[in-house]
């Protein structure tokens, strides 16, 4: 791993003194992403005693436990057993997923970097909007900020780098794009991702019973609307977004 070679099979590493990380790859792939989600589900259902928290990143499953009360070695052995019990790369997607359609303004003053991103991808702005709006992307992980999804994967044309200079701040609901992925920002954030779209979809609702809206495995489409339409949708709790259960 010292030179960043491709990992073969799951690799387990310590996270501080109280965590373990099981990685199913060292670059993003669909099987590794599904394996990470499925292994977390298995830990929640039938994981060793003493686990206090689990989560997933793009290709890894994380778990935290109390190292003073649970033995590190025993925890590792138990995870090894679970890892070898089946081929996690063949895991299916989690159940109870939803498809969200989120009204989005592409370009205009609300999302000023669409043209720039389109040029980087070798498209004119209209083609860029058709391409992004036509893609059905999946929530690969939630992270960085509360409720904030990493969405992918866009067609290969969109393998454009992050900006070298950070944008000082994009607002909540901004849709950022880089490296064939998109992030829908849940809180105002500085970012190196290009601001191509703007939504009114609140991803984090701390005052409600369901504070986090999207879940890993959910799918999303961004439907183009005008700035005037989006303005009207700000009064709606979901910013005009609708969802259906995927079966």
């Amino acid at each position: 791993m010292s030179d960043g070679d491709v990992l073969e099979g799951p690799v387990m590493r310590n996270v501080g003194i109280d965590g373990l990380l099981v990685s199913f790859g060292d670059r993003l792939s669909e099987p590794a992403n599904r394996a990470a989600m499925a292994f977390r589900d298995a830990l929640e259902r039938e994981g060793p005693e003493g686990i206090e928290e689990t989560s997933t990143s793009l290709v890894s499953t994380y778990l935290r436990f109390d190292p003073v009360h649970a033995d590190h070695g025993a925890m590792r052995r138990r995870l090894e057993e679970m890892l070898t019990a089946r081929n996690w790369f063949e895991a299916t997607l989690p159940g109870s997923r939803r498809l969200w359609r989120i009204p989005t303004v592409f370009g205009t003053a609300l999302a000023p970097q669409l043209d720039e991103a389109a040029a980087a991808a070798g498209m004119d702005p209209e083609a860029a909007i058709r391409s992004i709006a036509g893609a059905r992307v999946r929530v690969q992980t939630i992270g960085f900020a509360p409720g904030q999804p990493y969405l992918g994967q866009l067609p290969p044309d969109w393998d454009i780098p992050r900006q070298t200079q950070l944008t000082e701040k994009v607002p909540a609901g901004a849709l950022g794009l880089a490296i064939r992925q998109m992030v829908l920002f849940s809180v105002p954030t500085p970012t190196g991702w290009r601001h191509v779209g703007q939504t009114a979809f609140p991803l984090f609702r701390p005052a409600t019973d369901a504070p986090f809206v999207l879940r890993p495995g959910d799918e999303v489409r961004f439907d183009p609307v005008s700035p005037e339409t989006l303005e009207r949708m700000k009064g709606d709790a979901d910013g005009g977004a609708v969802s259906e259960i995927l079966t």
Partner: protein
Amino acid sequence: MSAELVVHRAGPGLTVQDTGRPGHLRAGLSRGGAVDRLALAEGAALLGQAEECAAIEMVGMGGEFEATQDTRIALTGAPMRASIDGTRVAWNASHALPAGIRLSIGTVETGSYGYLHVGGGIDGPKRLGARSAHLAAGIGAPLAAGDRLALGADPRPGATNLRLEPEPRFDGGTVRIVPSLQTAFFDEAERDRFATTAFRRDTRGNRMGVRLVPEGRGFESVAGLSVLSEVIVPGDVQITGDGTPFVLLCECQTTGGYPRIGSVLPADLPRVAQAGAGAMLHFRFVSLEEGIALERRDRQVRETLRGRLVPLVRRPEEIRDLLGYQLISGVTAGDDLERPDI
């Protein structure tokens, strides 16, 4: 009507903090809570109440407060100039705060984060299981003049004038770090150099993390900047693009792409958070086994805080001398013994 604490004046960095919200990493929310967890435990010990009681965290400077009923307070963390009704009172101690009397807390003398605890704790609704403000996530807001905070039922009204010798942690020193998921992205020479470098705590720092300026050049990972975003936990030492380390604190992001050279032990995180701008810090790698043993010892220390309370000597001129003496001895003793030869 239940008691309230009225905020008459507030420094720019006052928030309500408790033990935070662990368990939401999956949803992208870091645990937050008091940056200096030991200070929270010290306040709970001084007032004889649960560690979960919410307190007011104050960055760099305090404010002016008044209670609507007789209550008790304790002051912990980075020492600040404090007075009740114009009379200087000791830090690291509990005091009576009679109804309608002004408590004034000034600027920090050493360190960064001071804490004002109240008998019964700050009450009010919980959000996602805690009362902590998490500013990065948009939960809660800094306190401002005019705010009125409801107080919980005081478990031990009247029990005051106790003092607790603080664990020294306000002026930098040596911080212990364990190898973590990306330590192997740094070769041995780079890790050795990290462990023998002196770092100055930058002026840039907040509840998300503190920037450290190395003496000499920055640090490079062999993985470069192409590392896939991975889980972040508080304590992680992230090396940013220009080679400068950031130690991430309780309100950090939950994933990140910059490689991390190691993770600071939870027991030593208050030392990093409390180091004032300009304070010097060193890192010492310890094994996982040693790290767990140190965590066990740190919990024992926190559990025995109540047994270490002593009556407060109340003559103010004596308190001042005593306070100065403790801080100086604490810093040198905690620092010199572990300072590597460089």
